[in-house]
Amino acid sequence: MKISNRDWIQLSSYLDGELNPRELNKIEERLKQEPVLQLALEEMSQTKKILQQTPKLKIPRNFILTPVMVGAKTRLRPARGYRLVSALMTFLLIGVLVLDFGRFFMIGAMAPAAPKEVMLEAVSDSMVEALEEPALMEAEGDMEADRAVAETEAGAPQEEEAPAVAAEAVEEGESVGFSQEAESKSTEERSTDTAANQVDEWQEEADVEELVLPSQTFTPDITSPPVPVPPTMEFVPDEEIHKLERIPAIDPFRVLEIILGFGAISFGIAAWVIRRKRS
C-alpha cells in the first residue's frame, strides 16, 4: 500500500503535535489499523531524531560589531556616489541647455541689429562692384539717386561739414559718399563711362521723386519735413559694428555642455561597471 502525500503531511504534523483534535483522532484510528502507516511514522520519527542530533558547529570567529563596521555600511558606496554625481551632472546639463536656448531666443529677438550691419556692408560693396560691372548698375540706381538728392538739398551749409564727412568717407573706403567733394570726384571719374551717364539720369529722376538718402539720418535737415527712413538703411555706429564682430570663437556654454555631458556619461558608466563587478 502506497502512502499518499496527504498521509505524509498528517504523519509529520502528528509527530510534532500540530494536529487538531479531530485530525488527531482520525490518524490514531488509522495507525491502529494500518501497519504501513505505523512504519512510515516510525521512519519519520527516526529522521527527526537524527536531525535533532545534528552536531552543533563551533563558530569560526566572533561576529561582534565594531563602530567602523556599522559606520562603513552607512557610508556612501562608490557606485552610489558615482550614480549621484552622474544624475547631478545630467540635471546641470539640462539647466545649461535651457539657459543656452533662452539666450538663443533672446539673441533672436534682437536680430534686427545684426542685419543692419550686414546690409550696410552689402550695399556699399555692391555699389563698388556696380561701378565695375555695368549689369549691376540698375540695382544701385536708387542709391546714386539718393546721393544726388542729398547734394541738391543740402546746398551751401553742408559744404562746411563736407571735409569732416569726406574724411570719414575715406576711412570707410569707397563705400557710401557722404560729401560733395567725394561725390564730385567719383562723378568725374565715372563721367566717361556709360554707367556714370546712367547715374546722371537717375539723379534727375530722384530730384522729382524726393527720395531719402541714408546720410540724412546722419546730418538731418530740420527745415525739411520728416521723411521715413527705411530700417535697413539706418546708420549703425562703428563701435556697435565692431562689438558684434568681437563675439568669441568658443562659446563657454558649449564648453560647459560638453564637460557636463561627458562627465554624466563617464560617471554613469563607472557606476554601472562597479555594480556589475560587485554582483
Binding site: W8, S12, E42, E43, T47, S279
Partner: protein, 201 residues
C-alpha cells in the same frame, strides 16, 4: 548581568557594546542556521555577519515577542541573499592543507579538543552526512526543515520566519523529511545506534 530586553533598549539608544552582548548570546545559533542552509563555512560566516549588521540597523523594527524568531527571520533573509549571490557567481571553497600537502576537507574549528578522536570523526562524518542530504533539498524545503527539526521552532514560528502560510510549512516539512529519510539511508553506518533502521519501510 543585564537581561535581553535591557540590552535591546540600550542597543536602540546606540550602545553597540550592549548589542555585542546579544551577538555573543546568539552567534552560535545564527551561524549554525546559516551553515545548514547555505552549506559552506565561509558563506555562512558572511551571512552571519551581514545578519548581525542588518539586525543592529533594523532593531527599531523589533516589536517585542520572541527575539529569536525575529533574529532568525533576518538570518533567513541574509542567507537567501548570500545563497543567490553564490549561485550567480559560484566560488570554489578553499580547504586548509594538511602536513602531506593534501586538502583537509574539514577545518580544525570543527574539532573539539576535549573529544576522543573517534568521537570527533563520528561527529564530523554525521554532520557531513546530514549536510550532504540537506544540500540536496530545494532551498525553501531546507530552510523549513532546519528551522523546525534543527532549531526546534514550532510551525507557527517557522511560518512567521519564512513568511509562508502554515499549510505550506506543513507540506514542505513533510516532503523534506521524506526526502531526507531516503537520503540518510545511504549513511546508516554513521548513524547513532538505534537510529540505523531509518528508511527500511
Amino acid at each position: 548581568m543585564m537581561d535581553l530586553q535591557d540590552q535591546i533598549k540600550k542597543s536602540l539608544a546606540g550602545d553597540l557594546e550592549s548589542f555585542n552582548q546579544i551577538i555573543l548570546s546568539f552567534q552560535s545559533l545564527v551561524y549554525n542556521q546559516a551553515y545548514r542552509i547555505i552549506g559552506e563555512p565561509d558563506a555562512a560566516a558572511d551571512a552571519t555577519q551581514e545578519a548581525f549588521i542588518s539586525a543592529y540597523k533594523k532593531l527599531h523594527t523589533y516589536r517585542g515577542g520572541s527575539f529569536k524568531s525575529w533574529l532568525l527571520r533576518i538570518v533567513s533573509n541574509a542567507c537567501y541573499d548570500e545563497y543567490r549571490r553564490r549561485k550567480r557567481k559560484p566560488v570554489v571553497p578553499l580547504y586548509p592543507e594538511g602536513d602531506d600537502g593534501d586538502e583537509m576537507e574539514s577545518a580544525s574549528w570543527l574539532e573539539d579538543p576535549s573529544e576522543k578522536p573517534e568521537d570527533t570523526l563520528m561527529r564530523r562524518e554525521l554532520s557531513e552526512a546530514i549536510q550532504y542530504c540537506l544540500d540536496r533539498l530545494e532551498y525553501e524545503f531546507r530552510t523549513i526543515v532546519v528551522l523546525v527539526d534543527i532549531q526546534g521552532l514550532d510551525y507557527a514560528t517557522a511560518a512567521e520566519v519564512t513568511d509562508r502560510p502554515l499549510g505550506t510549512v506543513k507540506s514542505r516539512l513533510a516532503r523534506a523529511r521524506n526526502n531526507l529519510k531516503d537520503c540518510l539511508q545511504g549513511f546508516k553506518e554513521l548513524l547513532p545506534q538505534g537510529l540505523r533502521h531509518v528508511g527500511e519501510v
